[in-house]
C-alpha cells in the first residue's frame, strides 16, 4: 500500500485541526497557542521534554481537560470542550501513558465498557468477543479476550488499550509515550500494528521523547517546548541530532556570568554506579568533579539518569560501586541526614512533592532541614528563632506571601522555590545540587533563581545544575557534562561545544569511544 502524497492529503482536508489551544494550571502555562492539522493516514510525532505540555495537549483534544482558549475541530466539526464522550464518538482513540484499564475486569469487559447503553438487560458478550478476535487478528494484537487484565503483561495491556480504540472504530489514534514501558520486541510489534492501522487509513499522533522511534514511525515531527510549538519538520528532512537540539532549545546565547577560577573539587564521584531499581536508568561508572566556584551543568534528555544522580547526591540512594568524596574525604554510610550534615544544599526537582510539606506553614518548611540542630534548644523547638528565620528569608529572598504562618500550599511555584532557595542558601553551603530549579517558573523568578546560583558560585560554592533546558545549561555553566542512559560525558569547558555537538552526545553518540578509553576525568 502506497501512502498518499501530501497534495492528496491536503485535498482531502485535515481529519483533525487544533486551533490556538492555550491551557494554564494556575500561573503555569502548559500549552500556549498551539495549532496544527492532522491529515488522513498521517503519523505526527509530538516531541518534547517532560513538562513540555504534550500530554496536556492530548488530554484537551480528548476532552479530559478543558482548554482556556482555542478549539478542536474533528472532521470539520467543532468538538465540544471537556467531553471525552464526544471525542470518542467522533473517532478519537487515546492510549494513555498510564493505562486506563480496570484490573478486575476481563479484556473484553474493558473493551466494551461504555460502548453499549448502560441500562439494558444483558451484555452481548459473544458478539463482542468475536469482534475483538477479528480485530486482534487484523491488527496483529495478540491477546485473549477472556483473560483478566490484572494478569496481563504491560505489553498485552497496551494491546488492550489499542483494541479499545479500534473497537470503537477510531479514525485517529493518539499514543502517549507508548514505548516507555515496552521491551524492544514489544515496541517492534507495536510499530507493526501502527503500520497496519495507517495502511487502513487511520491517522496517528505519536507522543514521545525517544528520537529513534520518532524517526522510524512518523511522517512529520512537531516539537513542543515550554508548552509552545517551536518547530515542525518533515521526518524525511531532519535528523536525530537536529531534533535533539530543537527539543531542548539550542539557540546560542552568550554565557551570563564572567568566568571564575575553578577551586578545589568539593564533591567527587569516582567510577560510581547505582543499583538497578528496575524503573529509572541507573548510573553507570560515572566520574564527576564539582569544583569550588564553578557551576557544573548537566545536560541530557530527561529520564537518562538525572534522577539517579540527584538522588545519590541527596543521600536518597547509595552507590553499588565506586566512591564518593566530599572535601577529599571518602564518605561512609550515606543518608539524607548525612548529606545535609555534609553541607550539601538540595534544591529538589519536585518542589511540591519532595521540596516542601504542603500543609506546613512557611516557618515549618523553612526549618525542615535544620529543626534538630539550629532551631533546637535542649530538645525543644525554638519557635521564636524559627519564625524570625522565616521572616528573614521572606524579606531577603523576596518571597511574596501574607506571612510566616501561611501554609505553603497557598504559594505560587516561584515563591515556594524562593523559600527553598533561601532555606538552603542561608546556610552558606559549599555544595549546591540544583535539580530543575526553574521548571515551571515565570521569567522573573527564573532570573532571580539564576542570580542566586551565580552569587553562590561567586562565593566559592560548587553548584551542580541539572536541567533539560540546554539554553539554561549553556548560559550558566562553567563546565558541561551530558548524561545519556546513565553514562556521563567528559566535562566540556564553557564555549568549547556547539549545541549540535551536545545534541549528538544527548542522542547517545560518543560514549562508546569514551568508555573504550576508560572513564574520563575532565
Amino acid at each position: 500500500m502506497t501512502t498518499p502524497s501530501m497534495a492528496q492529503r491536503a485535498a482531502n482536508g485535515p481529519v483533525l485541526r487544533l486551533k490556538e489551544i492555550t491551557k494554564r494550571f494556575g500561573p503555569v502555562t502548559a500549552n500556549e497557542d498551539v495549532s496544527f492539522d492532522l491529515f488522513p493516514g498521517e503519523v505526527i510525532a509530538l516531541l518534547g521534554e517532560n513538562g513540555a505540555g504534550k500530554t496536556t495537549l492530548m488530554n484537551i483534544l480528548f476532552g479530559q481537560y478543558t482548554a482556556d482558549a482555542g478549539e478542536v475541530e474533528l472532521f470539520g466539526a467543532t468538538l465540544p470542550p471537556g467531553a471525552p464522550r464526544a471525542a470518542l464518538d467522533g473517532g478519537v482513540g487515546m492510549v494513555h501513558q498510564h493505562f486506563t484499564l480496570a484490573d478486575n475486569l476481563t479484556v473484553w469487559e474493558n473493551i466494551t465498557l461504555g460502548v453499549e447503553p448502560l441500562f439494558q438487560m444483558r451484555l452481548n458478550s459473544s458478539a463482542a468477543r468475536a469482534r475483538i478476535r477479528s480485530l486482534s487478528e487484523r491488527f496483529h494484537l495478540k491477546v485473549d479476550p477472556n483473560a483478566k487484565v490484572g494478569r496481563l503483561t504491560v505489553g498485552e495491556r497496551q494491546r488492550v488499550e489499542i483494541l479499545k480504540a479500534l473497537y470503537r472504530d477510531a479514525r485517529i489514534l493518539i499514543l502517549d509515550e507508548p514505548t516507555a514501558v515496552l521491551t524492544p520486541q514489544e515496541s517492534d510489534a507495536l510499530f507493526a500494528t501502527l503500520r497496519e492501522a495507517i495502511g487502513q487509513g487511520l491517522s496517528v499522533i505519536f507522543i514521545s521523547h525517544k528520537l529513534h522511534e520518532v524517526m522510524a514511525i512518523s511522517d512529520r515531527v512537531l516539537v513542543l517546548r515550554h508548552g509552545r510549538l517551536v518547530a515542525e519538520r518533515r521526518t524525511a528532512q531532519t535528523s536525530r541530532d537536529e531534533l535533539a537540539s530543537l527539543m531542548v532549545g539550542a539557540d546560542v546565547k552568550p554565557a551570563r556570568f564572567a568566568p571564575n577560577a575553578a577551586g578545589p573539587a568539593l564533591l567527587q564521584l569516582q567510577g560510581v554506579s547505582t543499583p538497578d531499581n528496575g524503573a529509572a536508568p541507573r548510573l553507570r561508572n560515572v566520574t564527576l568533579d564539582l569544583a569550588a566556584g564553578q557551576i557544573t551543568g548537566l545536560a541530557g534528555v530527561s529520564g537518562n539518569g538525572q534522577a539517579a544522580l540527584s538522588d545519590l547526591i541527596s543521600g536518597l540512594i547509595t552507590t553499588q560501586s565506586g566512591q564518593i568524596r566530599i572535601h577529599g574525604r571518602e564518605i561512609g554510610a550515606w543518608s539524607p541526614r548525612k548529606a545535609v550534615d555534609a553541607g550539601i544544599a538540595r534544591i529538589p526537582e519536585d518542589r511540591h512533592k519532595t521540596g516542601t510539606i504542603a500543609d506546613f506553614d512557611l516557618t515549618e518548611n523553612a526549618i525542615l532541614e535544620t529543626y534538630s540542630t539550629r532551631f533546637a534548644r535542649r530538645g525543644w523547638l525554638d519557635w521564636r528563632a524559627a519564625r524570625q528565620f522565616a521572616k528573614d528569608l521572606i524579606a531577603t529572598y523576596d518571597v511574596r506571601c501574607p506571612g510566616p504562618d501561611t501554609r505553603i500550599r497557598l504559594l505560587s511555584g516561584g515563591n515556594m522555590q524562593k523559600l527553598i532557595l533561601g532555606r538552603v542558601l542561608e546556610l552558606a553551603p559549599d555544595i549546591i545540587l540544583a535539580n530543575q530549579p526553574v521548571r515551571g517558573l515565570d521569567i522573573g523568578a527564573v532570573t532571580y533563581v539564576h542570580e542566586q546560583l551565580a552569587k553562590a558560585r561567586a562565593r566559592g560554592a560548587a553548584v551542580l545544575l541539572i536541567s533539560e533546558d540546554l539554553d539554561e545549561i549553556m548560559q550558566l555553566s562553567d563546565v558541561i557534562h551530558v548524561i545519556s542512559e546513565g553514562r556521563l560525558s567528559p566535562g566540556f569547558p564553557r564555549g568549547s561545544q556547539q549545541p549540535e555537538d551536545l545534541g549528538a552526545w544527548m542522542a547517545g553518540h560518543g560514549f562508546d569511544t569514551m568508555t573504550a578509553e576508560g572513564p574520563h576525568a575532565p
Binding site: Q64, P84, T100, N104, L105, G114, L123
Partner: protein
C-alpha cells in the same frame, strides 16, 4: 449430642435464614457502594432510619409493601446526601459515613419522639407473616427451613440474584465494577464516574434501609431504639468476607446468622448452664473474625475503594 440435634433441626435453620435476611439486604447495599469505590459507613444509621420509617409508615396506615417502599426511599435520600458529599465533593468517606450514621440515628430518635411523644412502649403493627411456598414447603428439613419464610426473606434472596446478575451480566454492572477499580478507565470510555458512583451509593443505601425495615416489618412487629444493634458494622465485615461478591456475601450472612441462632440454642443446653451467657453472645463475632481472617486473605479489594475521582485534576 446437643449440637448435632440443633444443627439437624428445621427450626434452627429457619431461624438462621430469618436472622440472615436483614444482613443480606444491607450487605448487598454496602457491596454495591464499595464495588463502585465508595465505602458507606452510613450503613448503621441508614438501617436505623429504614427500620423506623418503614414501621411508622405502616403504623400510619400504609400497606406492608408500602412501608418497604418508604424505607427504601428514606435510605436513598440519605444515600443522596452521602453520595453528594463523598463523590462530587470528594470528602473523606470515613468522616461522611460516620457523620451520616450519627445524623440518621439521631434524626430517627428525634422523629420518633415528635411523632409518638407520650407512649412508653411503641405500638405494634401487623407484620409480614410466613408464606409457605406450595410443594417446596413440604420437603423434609429444607421445606420448613427455607420455604416457609416471610415474603421479605424471599425478596432478600431474589435481590441477591438480581444484584449478581446485574453486576456481572449487564453494562451498568460492568461500569460499576470498573468505577471501583479504576475510575480513569470509566472516564476514558466517555462515562461519568460521578453519575455511576452516586447511583450506586443511592441504590445501595436504599437496600440498607430495607434491611433495617426487615427488623420492624418482618422479624418483629415494632420499633425499638437499639434494635439494629451493630448489624450495619457486621455487614461491612460481611462484604469483606464475601470478597465483594454477592453470592459469597449471602453465604457469609447465613453463616453469621447460623452462629447467632446456634448460640441462642446453646444457652439452653446443659453446657449453657455452666458457661456465662455472655460467652455465647460473643460466639458469632469471634467466629466471624476467624472466618474473615481466613477468607479475606485472597480477596480482591476494589482498587479505587475510598479514592475520590476528580475529573481533569492534574
Amino acid at each position: 449430642m446437643d449440637i448435632l440435634d440443633i444443627l439437624l433441626s428445621a427450626s434452627f435453620w429457619a431461624a438462621a435464614i430469618r436472622i440472615a435476611s436483614p444482613l443480606i439486604f444491607a450487605t448487598l447495599g454496602e457491596l454495591i457502594c464499595e464495588r463502585a469505590g465508595v465505602l458507606n459507613l452510613g450503613i448503621e444509621g441508614i438501617m436505623v432510619a429504614g427500620a423506623f420509617s418503614g414501621w411508622i409508615a405502616v403504623w400510619a396506615g400504609l400497606p406492608l409493601w408500602g412501608g418497604v417502599a418508604v424505607a427504601m426511599l428514606t435510605g436513598m435520600a440519605f444515600g443522596l446526601l452521602h453520595a453528594t458529599l463523598s463523590v462530587p465533593f470528594g470528602l473523606s468517606q470515613h468522616v461522611v459515613g460516620i457523620g451520616l450514621t450519627l445524623l440518621a440515628t439521631s434524626l430517627t430518635f428525634y422523629t420518633y419522639r415528635v411523632v409518638l411523644p407520650e407512649v412508653s412502649s411503641p405500638p405494634k403493627i401487623e407484620a409480614f407473616q410466613p408464606y409457605e411456598i406450595p410443594l417446596l414447603a413440604d420437603l423434609p428439613l429444607i421445606g420448613p427451613a427455607l420455604f416457609s419464610q416471610t415474603p421479605l426473606t424471599y425478596a432478600a434472596f431474589l435481590l441477591a440474584a438480581i444484584c449478581a446478575y446485574t453486576l456481572y451480566r449487564t453494562p451498568v454492572g460492568l461500569a460499576v465494577r470498573a468505577a471501583g477499580e479504576n475510575p480513569s478507565a470509566v472516564a476514558a470510555q466517555g462515562l461519568s464516574v460521578t453519575a455511576i458512583r452516586m447511583g450506586a451509593v443511592i441504590t445501595g443505601s436504599g437496600f440498607m434501609a430495607v434491611g433495617g425495615a426487615f427488623l420492624t416489618l418482618s422479624a418483629f412487629d415494632s420499633f425499638f431504639f437499639d434494635m439494629v444493634n451493630g448489624r450495619g458494622w457486621i455487614c461491612i465485615a460481611l462484604v469483606v468476607f464475601g470478597a465483594w461478591r454477592p453470592g459469597k456475601a449471602v453465604l457469609g450472612a447465613i453463616l453469621f446468622a447460623a452462629f447467632d441462632a446456634l448460640q441462642i440454642r446453646l444457652q439452653q443446653t446443659a453446657i449453657g448452664a455452666l458457661v456465662p451467657y455472655q460467652l455465647f453472645l460473643m460466639l458469632p463475632y469471634i467466629l466471624s473474625i476467624l472466618a474473615l481472617v481466613v477468607m479475606s486473605r485472597r480477596a480482591e479489594v476494589p482498587a479505587a475503594l475510598m479514592v475520590p475521582f476528580n475529573k481533569g485534576e492534574r
